[in-house]
Amino acid sequence: MTIDLTQVRGLFFEESFENLDIMESSLLDLEIETFDEELINNIFRAAHSIKGGAGIFQLDDIVTFAHNAETLLDEIREKKHTISQTLIDLLLGVGDILRMMLLASKDEVTYDAEKVQICQNELQRILAKPVSEEIPDDIVQTEIEVPDETEKLVVKKWHIEFKPELEILKTGNDPINLFGELQELGELEVEVNVDEIPNFVDIDPQLCYLTWELILHTSATQSDIEEIFEWVIDECELDITEFNSDSSKNIKVNTENQERTEIVENTTPEIENLPDIPAPENITEKPIIKDVANKHIQSNTDSIRVGIDKIDNLINIVGELVITQSMLDQIGENFNSSDICQLQDGLAQLERNTRELQENIMRIRMLPISFSFNRFPRLVHDLSTQLGKKVELVLSGENTELDKTVLEKMSDPLVHLVRNSLDHGIELPEQRKQASKPEVGRLHLNAFHQGGSVVIQITDDGAGFDTEKIRNKAVQKGWITSEEVITEEQLHEFIFQPGFSTSEEVSDLSGRGVGMDVVRRNIRDLGGSIEVKSTVGEGSRFTIRLPLTLAILDGQLVRVGKEIFVLPLLSIIESLRVQNSLVNSFTGAVEIYKLRDDYIPILRLYKIFELEDTITKLEQGLLVIAEGDGQKIGLFVDELLSQQQIVIKNLENNYKKVQGVSGATILGTGNVALILDVTGLIQLFKNKTKSPTHLPLGAIRYE
């Protein structure tokens, strides 16, 4: 029998990586010198499952390695080892090696065998009972012995005495089934011995009082016969003897007596079948080869695991949608004006269904942020060891869901921020003691929903930013003059500038060529923002705001001339009528609006987009105060239209990225409207005005 393993293969890798995650998090939860049975069992099971699965796909190297690990874990379960940091680190290393091997197998590439060997040696050194170098025989499929044709043809006569224990039926074994199996091997004669049956009144129907004597004519070997009794061997008396057993076991056919040759003839039908036996075993190789060929197609499809409840919800909603549709159909069939109320009801229902459907479909793409957070315990563990720092990592809000794409793209920036906090934020234990802070630093990763966005905060109780250093750097880079007085917040902003790094020497951890500017850019590309608050001596907090999803946006429609644009609602602070007295010109190039204590540059959208037939007098239109990347700008539009949820379509599919525009959407009229990107607009504005002098910070600060 052959089955297609391709599908299972993908599943196996997915599952194995999950198991490795479980293994890792359980290891990190283990406490030294305490025996937490549940955690240890979790770890054991994870390694065990990987070994079992790897066996199916004949990944023998993984099986061997996992087997060693499993043996150690088994010994730990039996309390032969105490939990020490060394042991935990070794097992974390084992997890890494397994991951490396699995990844390599998945992608059909080679891995660093030396690493495996080093870890393997380490494992063997620590093991209480030595494990043989060989692949454990329990996992390797026994080689198919190519049967010696001549021997197979020899039909022997076997005498089998089978006396099961009384209790045999209670394990679900039925002698009749065993005999059925024997019959498959050849001609079987059965004789029942009923001598042991007690008097009727004493009979317990649950017990087996019978014993059997069997004669089997077969070409099968003794071990073939024994295999049938494998499961009951300890619950019976079994005696298998060969008739004429005086002749040696390896007798060749040609030397045999007449009796045997006769039997060969009598049982030809069965014998013909025999050479087929090994055939299926050979065939099982095939799906695996095919699997390799299909693998690339498999690994390229990005998949998402969706809970059944989410799917069920969708099915329910679609069901309702169908009902609504048929209801509307009915109304439409013989419509007369008295049905108008019904029609309105139907349309309202349709709208509700559509909205629900949309919300639920969006939900499918949502994953809890724990997918991303889960890697941090390990990262923090490794880094703090490396840096000689003591850090307690606190995770909260792990169940906060966000879009899969956002989640994936946030992964690297988050790692960078955590590395930064450990490297630059949290101090060495002595320094902390001197500052009369607890020796163990605290790093808090928190996620929560706020309005239409997801907020992620990375908070440390470290040293905070060294404002003096930042200032010096900014002066050195020529961003400010040494006399310039700027606020602390403005100083903090500098860390997001390209080329900024206060580290005197590039450390192994943070100086990897990705700076905070890249972090900010990545976040901004996702339509999010990042800001930082830091107090010297008390710590820093990075706050990242991200849209829930990349596919839908709450938009404010605005009109400029004949064109309609969409502004993300999140970027709008307020809209107002312009009072001419508050408008000032700045160096002749930029108009500044004084809004309470703020000076806000005015960007006339019609100018930047070169539109005609628009309102040009400020007091006749509206000023939409929007914020992009921490900067405020007043967008001058003709009028505000409605607010609505819009589906984001990208321009890049068929065209390319356009500065100041983050995408497009299709309006109810079928026309296309561009979605404005406030940050991009500010940049565009800067390029267009090409102000010769440098503008005051706080008004507009350009990158």
């Binding site: 064109e563 990208n650 068929n654 065209y655 390319k656 497009a664 561009l674």
Partner: protein, 162 residues
Amino acid sequence: MNSDINGDTANKYLTFILATEEYAIDILRVQEIKGWSKVTQIPNTPSYICGVINLRGTIVPIVDLRLRFNLDFQTYGSMTVVVVVNVISSNNKERIMGVVVDGVSDVYDVTETEIKPPPDFGSVISTEFVKGLTTVSDKMVIVLDIDKLLNSDELAIIDGLS
């Protein structure tokens, strides 16, 4: 596709008119031909990019070939024709674009051997976008390389920018 006497396979080409000249493009690249519909302008783009339209849920950019070839602008109206084509860019990405032409003319069978390399002058457009010249019923037809044309300059895909 038909085979002529030489055994050379003929491809079908759609031709269209721009000012006084007739241009041909591989018909297999033509997705549909439609009338003019309102475009949404894209800011800060060259004048030959009219903007984008909604083609059954897809945002499709529209290029005015007259302007692309520096011919006089002709106002759009009910007679304006948009040819929607599939363009394959250098990185093998397929894009859908619309081109505005004066009118669609005909469909011809042209074999590869009938397409002669263009001289370096005599056309309003750079020969870079021209696959060659051919003659159909005594008329000269300019065969365009649509991929080169719609992947040049402002229309080029900048790798890594997404």
